[in-house]
């Protein structure tokens, strides 16, 4: 019997090729935008197709070529193919429409890169203006953080599945959060828990490492008490607002943490491993060869 690939094998196989996308794009010195789009196209293509139908090698080049076009970084097919060994222009152009069809002709991809830049700007607005909030954070620290977060995105977000599971701003925040938890957490608190930020700050100084599970209930209690002392009419309204705010913040942080976890789960596939899978894949792609082989063997046996 012909042995087909298991879903796990297919996944590892594709991971190997997604890494190749980055290499290809770097080879052509393409902008990050193109790289991300190409990776996204590639992953979306194999959501609806199988490696046993289309070999990833040419699909990969087609995705890169298409992404370059759709992101306005045009290279002509001739110069593109010249740089690639063993690929002809017809290979790519024939697949182009199939890829487009599998993408349902949706070429616009939202990447976490611009949101990341947006957050870099908003970090400045929240943490540095009107006056610096944290004694050790300056524009340079934030710039540094931004650059490292960009690297994080390049490393983790391109190849992993997070783009399917989280919105771009969430991924951007995850990048920030994982590069510098302290600053990002402070930002999120200041941004989304405006009402009780003063009190939180006091508590924050003590435990920077610890997640806020134990401090939060306390804080809410004290906040509640403080509110009770004030007018009783606005009390409930204020409380509800506070509550939803806190809930919002907590879900956001939870989402971000999950995003980081998923992004980091991907482990690099080795060349040997994928070669192994490639062999299996070969006969699935070319059933005729398999039949020929069997016939030959049968003929030998008869002799």
């Amino acid at each position: 019997m012909i042995s087909l690939l298991t879903p796990e094998e297919e996944a590892t196989y594709l991971d190997f090729y997604s890494n190749n996308i980055i290499k290809t794009c770097n080879f052509f010195k393409m902008p990050t935008q193109v790289k991300l789009t190409a990776a996204s196209f590639f992953k979306k293509f194999y959501l609806v197709n199988s490696v046993m139908e289309y070999h990833p090698k040419n699909i990969l080049y087609t995705c890169v070529f298409l992404a370059a076009k759709s992101e306005n970084y045009f290279i002509s097919i001739d110069s593109f193919v010249r740089a690639l060994q063993g690929t002809e222009a017809a290979h790519i152009l024939d697949l182009e429409f199939i890829v487009l069809q599998s993408l349902k002709f949706t070429l616009l991809v939202h990447h976490p890169v611009r949101p990341l830049y947006g957050f870099f700007l908003d970090f400045q607005a929240v943490l540095l203006h009107p006056e610096p909030v944290m004694y050790d954070v300056s524009v340079d620290t934030l710039g540094n953080l931004y650059n490292r977060a960009k690297d994080w995105l390049n490393e983790h977000a391109v190849t992993s599945d997070v783009t399917f599971l989280f919105t771009p701003p969430q991924i951007a925040l995850a990048a920030m959060y994982d590069t510098d938890k302290r600053i990002t957490d402070r930002y999120l608190k200041r941004k989304f828990l405006k009402e009780d930020k003063e009190k939180l700050n006091v508590i924050k100084e003590g435990d920077e490492e610890q997640p806020d599970q134990n401090t939060e209930p306390q804080n809410e209690e004290s906040e509640k008490q403080g509110v009770v002392k004030e007018e009783s009419e606005t009390n409930s309204h204020h409380n509800i607002k506070l509550h939803t705010q806190r809930e919002h913040y907590e879900t956001l942080v939870r989402t971000i943490r999950k995003c980081i976890k998923i992004a980091k789960e991907v482990k690099p596939t080795t060349r040997e491993e994928s070669k192994e899978i490639d062999k299996k894949c070969f006969f699935a792609l070319n059933p005729k060869k398999l039949i020929d082989k069997r016939i030959k063997r049968l003929a030998l046996e008869e002799k």
């Binding site: 611009r114 700007l121 524009v139 925040l173 879900t251 956001l252």
Partner: protein, 330 residues
Amino acid sequence: MCPICKTDKYLSPNMTFLINPECYHKICESCVDRIFSLGPAPCPYPKCGKILRKNKFKQQVFDDLRIEREIDIRKKVGNVYNKTEEDFPSLKEYNQYLENIEEIVFKLNNDVDVVETLAELDKYEQEHKLEILEKNMRESEKSADLVKYQEAMERLKQEKRKIQEKMDLEDLNFQREQQQKLLDKMATSSETTEEILKQLEVQKQSRLTSRRKQLQSINENLDRQFNSANPFHKHLPEEVQTPFTPFKGDRDLNKKYTMLPVLDAEEIMDTDNSHGSYYDPYMNKLAKVKEFLGAGWRLNHVYERALDEAFIGLGCIIEQEKTSAKPTLV
């Protein structure tokens, strides 16, 4: 080729075809003259036999005769059913009215219950004769207003042009005078030529700016006069409208962030002074490139877009939505 006299386009290149809205058969002009000049006659096409009149013949506008026919029907129905949206208390009723019209057009166009429909049309016309007339009057008044407006516009333009010409003439005279003065001065005065020239240049500049201001104010005055007199001006909506969005209320009017003031290109210093604004040396450098600015590129747009994208979909938790949504098979 005309099917009746067999005249060819090749032999008589300027022959034209006419059609009659009774049966829409194509007949060449000379045949129409020949057959129908003595009064109504049957259509010469075999098996048609409809009685046609010469004055109903017309040139074909659309290549496709079915379209030609539908347009004619629409015109006919539209003459009777000529109400506009303002005549109805609600949009729904107006839509109902339009629907009704479409129904009639469809029936006539596709030969469904033609006799009944025509009778209905006639009945409606009889019943609403006065209304239809009134409406027609109003429409013609409106178009008369439009004509008046256009005339006024034309007059305004002429006025402006006249003033411009007059001023140009004055300028020319002034220049000549100036030239004369210069020569005189050079002959008599003790100052050096350069000084005199400089003086004159300054005078000229100041005159030029004052002239320009004068022209502008005159133009503005004229515009104002014109606008107060014209009846169409007040129809323009005055309140600022938000752009159309296909989804109700997807426009986020209270944004999740407050933007810091963004400096203009001139204000950005080479040193990284970012007091009160965003700090990004790369972008700030770009903000001073004249080519970009000339093309409409602005620093604050860049910042705004990045910030917008940072907060779009931040509160959208895919996991939650998936659990709460009903399981649907894809």
